[in-house]
């Protein structure tokens, strides 16, 4: 029996003497150590351990000696003959039969090498597991049948917001953790687990966090059962997949949009081989070329290119083939639409034959016929507009109020006399060229344009090229953005100098013609009156003659009437000449004294007869720019009036004086006779047909003509008179 124990194959047995030297080792022990028994007999048991275990072993031996027959446990490691050691749990017993002192020490060893190895590994595995769990993106949640939460990992805290303190050992239902819309489906999943229908499952649902945010989670659920197979709890690993779900949704949306763009957009995309055979075509091809996808697959796309554009397309393809992966944008050519019309197609071609996913030439193309035609129309319209501006001499300008960028058409430079090479002047420099008297007006008008947003015309003077004054007509308007804010101004400028000069000439002509008409009308009434007066008299006189009474007196009266008629007719002739001369104003320098002397000479007989003293005070060199005939006529009327009406029986003096005063020539004809009541008669003094004197033999033409002749030469006539003191007529003519 003892031998069978000593030779046990499951335990190690050794004996030592009180010195601790091996006296016995069983075979199993020797085999395990890989040594011969004889090699260890006599070797101290304590020395036959790993050095770290020596004192522990010695201590155990000492206790065996001191307390015999009592087992003392100690774990010791024994070196193997080869590398390594074994770990054994030893029971050391001091064997003593009847004395206090043992005779030998029995050592029984249980090999725990493997057990320790596994325990260490298990510990390490537990450590790792704890670490993984702590750092895992998965949260751990465990809840029991009654939904009491038993586990709530750190990660769970991070995902849902509730801390372990807040949630552990509380009922799941007390927390608003499931998204309302997913409660039903989540309950079913939980029910399956808690009722044991399923040992585990995976579900994805929406959850709520403590702050109310909705998140997406995947729950990896497992049931935990006791030894009887009853479900005790559900252990779940939770993964927050919100970002992934959002990203996936975003990708799906993006894909949808992209597909919509590709398939429904105006652009079409075709992938074809170098020989023109299409391998992929978007449905939008129908919008571009009219063919269905199926039809296009049977077509030679290059065959649809306009013959004139084939060389260009071929060249473009050659270039693309030489530069794989590099897009060649903006190639334009005409292609035949299914309806037979030629369409302008803009293509971006990329050689992706090297890309295994594409393996072809990608042609992204669209119909730009409308824009090409519009462009051609715009080009044509611009050409016409430019030509029209050139012909009409109208310039166009535009000022961007946000950037101060200024655009001028060619005509603007021409109108303003600015070299186009110098560029568009700033608005400040432009305003410097406006006539100073018009500058404020122009600035106000432009301000008004900005405030009222109206299109406003204006006319002002402008120093063309800085020196030549021109009249311009401008129109300015305001460009607004969608909010009604003024963002730019634009306008036109037209040189209207010629038209303006013509207008001034026209106004002068109209004024002159109106004056003339008025004079002719007054004159016709006056002469008609005079003629009719004479005719009436003749009619009356002839009726008296018929009665045969007072014949001599009647004949005398008829003679007088005839003379009146003659004078009237002469006046008609004189006035007609006056009007003729009036239209051809040609001024020359005339010596005033010479003209006065001619009048005096013509009236010398009367002057001499009436014994009138004429005082002449005119410098010989005094000249005036005038029409000679007018000047003579003026002096004739004024001097003869002075002789006729300014001379009395006692006062027989006439004074004629001339002088220069600044740029004017002043000539005064003064008499010292009866004078006039200007307060009463001043208004009719120069009126056609007016006669102020009873003794007047005239018909009221002289002063009327005089005034108009003076005014026709740009001058003026003034009169001063006082009853009983004489009259002074002052003629003022410009130099």
């Amino acid at each position: 029996m003892l031998n069978s124990i000593l030779e046990s194959r499951s335990i190690y047995i050794a004996k030592t003497n009180l010195d601790g030297e091996y006296t016995f080792l069983n075979d199993h022990f020797c085999d395990r150590l890989g040594v011969e028994r004889k090699d260890l007999i006599g070797i101290q048991f304590a020395r036959h351990t790993l050095p770290e275990d020596y004192y522990k072993c010695v201590d155990a031996f000492q206790r065996c000696v001191s307390t015999p027959n009592v087992p003392h446990k100690v774990i010791l490691r024994k070196p193997l003959s080869e590398l390594g050691f074994i770990t054994c749990e030893w029971e050391l017993i001091g064997l003593a039969e009847d004395a206090d002192t043992p005779e030998e020490i029995l050592c029984i060893g249980y090999d725990i090498t493997e057990k320790e190895f596994f325990e260490k590994n298990l510990f390490a595995a537990n450590q790792r597991l704890a670490t993984y769990m702590y750092n895992s993106p998965l949260g751990i949640v465990e809840y029991e049948q009654d939904l009491t939460i038993k586990q709530w990992s750190k990660r769970s805290e991070e995902i849902f917001g509730w801390t372990q303190e807040e949630i552990l050992n509380k009922n799941f239902g007390a927390f608003d953790i499931i998204y309302e819309g997913d409660i039903e489906s989540t309950s079913k999943v939980a029910e399956e687990l808690l009722t044991g229908v399923a040992n585990g499952n995976i579900s994805q649902n929406r959850n709520k966090t403590k702050d109310g945010t909705t998140i997406h989670c995947v729950w990896y659920n497992s049931v935990v059962k006791d030894e009887t197979g009853t479900v005790k709890s559900v252990l779940s690993l939770v993964q927050d997949v919100t970002k992934r779900v959002t990203d996936e949704e975003s990708i799906r949306t993006s894909e949808k949009r992209f597909r919509a763009l590709i398939e429904n957009g105006k652009d079409a995309i075709a992938i074809f081989s170098a020989d023109g055979k299409p391998s992929y075509i978007t449905p939008s091809i129908t919008k571009v070329l009219g063919y269905t996808e199926e039809e296009v697959y049977k077509l030679d796309i290059l065959g649809l290119v306009h013959p004139d554009d084939v060389p260009g397309v071929t060249l473009a393809l050659q270039r693309v083939m030489k530069a794989p992966g590099i897009p060649m944008p903006g190639h334009t050519s005409r292609m035949k639409h299914k309806d037979g019309s030629w369409r302008w197609i803009e293509a971006t071609i990329t050689n992706l034959t090297d890309d295994p996913h594409i393996n072809g030439i990608v042609d992204n193309f669209r119909d730009i016929t409308e824009s090409v035609e519009n462009e051609m129309l715009i080009t044509k319209t611009n050409r016409h507009l430019k030509r029209a501006q050139n012909i009409a001499n109208i310039g166009y300008w535009e000022l961007d109020l946000r950037t101060n960028a200024n655009f001028w058409s060619e005509e603007m430079f021409s109108i303003c006399g600015i070299d186009e090479k110098k560029g568009v002047p700033s608005i400040e420099d432009f305003f410097k060229l406006i006539h100073p008297d018009d500058l404020v007006y122009v600035q106000k008008k432009h301000l008004h344009v900005l405030e009222s947003k109206q299109t406003i015309p204006m006319e002002y003077r402008f120093l063309k090229g800085g020196n030549s004054l021109v009249y311009v007509q401008a129109i300015a308007s305001c460009i607004q953005d969608e909010h009604g804010k003024a963002i730019a101004m634009e306008g036109t400028l037209q040189d209207i100098t010629e038209r303006k000069n013509e207008e001034v000439a026209m106004k002068k002509l109209l004024h002159r013609t109106t004056d003339q008409n008025k004079r002719l009308k007054d004159f016709s009434f006056m002469t008609s009156h005079n003629i009719r007066s004479s005719v009436a008299n003749i009619m009356g006189l002839t009726s008296i003659l018929e009665t045969g009474t007072n014949n001599e007196e009647c004949v005398e009266m008829i003679k007088t009437t005839a003379q009146h008629l003659d004078i009237t007719v002469k006046n008609i002739s004189e006035l007609l000449n006056f009007e003729n001369e009036f239209t051809s104003v040609h001024m020359v320098d005339c010596r005033v004294k010479n003209s006065v002397q001619r009048t005096l000479s013509l009236n010398s007989a009367v002057i001499s007869q009436k014994d009138i003293f004429v005082e002449l005070d005119i410098p010989p060199e005094l000249t005036v720019a005038s029409i000679p005939a007018y000047l003579d006529s003026i002096f004739h009327n004024l001097i003869t009036n002075a002789i006729k009406y300014g001379v009395t029986d006692t006062v027989k003096q006439v004074r004629i004086a001339g002088r220069k005063e600044k740029s004017k020539t002043i000539i005064e004809i003064q008499d010292f006779g009866l004078g006039m009541n200007l307060e009463r008669d001043g208004d009719k003094l120069f009126k056609l047909g007016s006669r102020l004197h009873l003794a007047s033999e005239g018909q009221g033409l002289g002063l009327y003509m005089t005034k108009h002749q003076i005014e026709a030469m740009g001058g003026a006539i003034e009169v001063k008179s006082k009853v009983g003191h004489g009259t002074t007529f002052t003629v003022i003519l410009n130099e």
Partner: protein, 122 residues
């Protein structure tokens, strides 16, 4: 027609005055015909005596017919005599102005005749 004792003729045309005087004398055989050569003289005559009838020319020197009427209008009350305009004017404005003037009773276009006088004198 009331009895006409005195007729004033205001006109600057010497020949017209002679002819008119003859015609007026043939119409108003007992009337005294008083002559004035312009409006101013006419006003002076009125200061002395008043006529039953006054024949007034428009175009006259010193004071024309319109000025005469303006001055006469400044006096209080309507003149107690008829005023007949006599003129050779062909200006329609003159005739319109005469017809619309409150002091004017008639318009005779020269030459003056017996028939014309009788047609305008009430």
């Amino acid at each position: 027609m009331n009895k006409i004792d005195r007729v004033f003729l205001v006109d600057d045309d010497r020949i017209f005055l002679s002819l008119a005087k003859l015609v007026l004398q043939s119409v108003f055989t007992e009337a005294d015909i008083v002559i004035a050569k312009n409006g101013l003289e006419g006003l002076k005559n009125l200061e002395e005596k008043l006529p039953n009838l006054l024949f007034l020319d428009i175009n006259m020197p010193v004071m024309d017919g319109w000025e005469f009427l303006t001055e006469l209008g400044k006096q209080p009350g309507d003149p107690p005599f008829q005023i007949i305009i006599t003129s050779s004017s062909v200006d329609p404005e003159d005739r319109q102005r005469a017809e619309g003037h409150p002091l004017v009773n008639g318009f005779i276009e020269k030459p003056i005749t017996k028939e014309k006088i009788l047609s305008v004198v009430s």
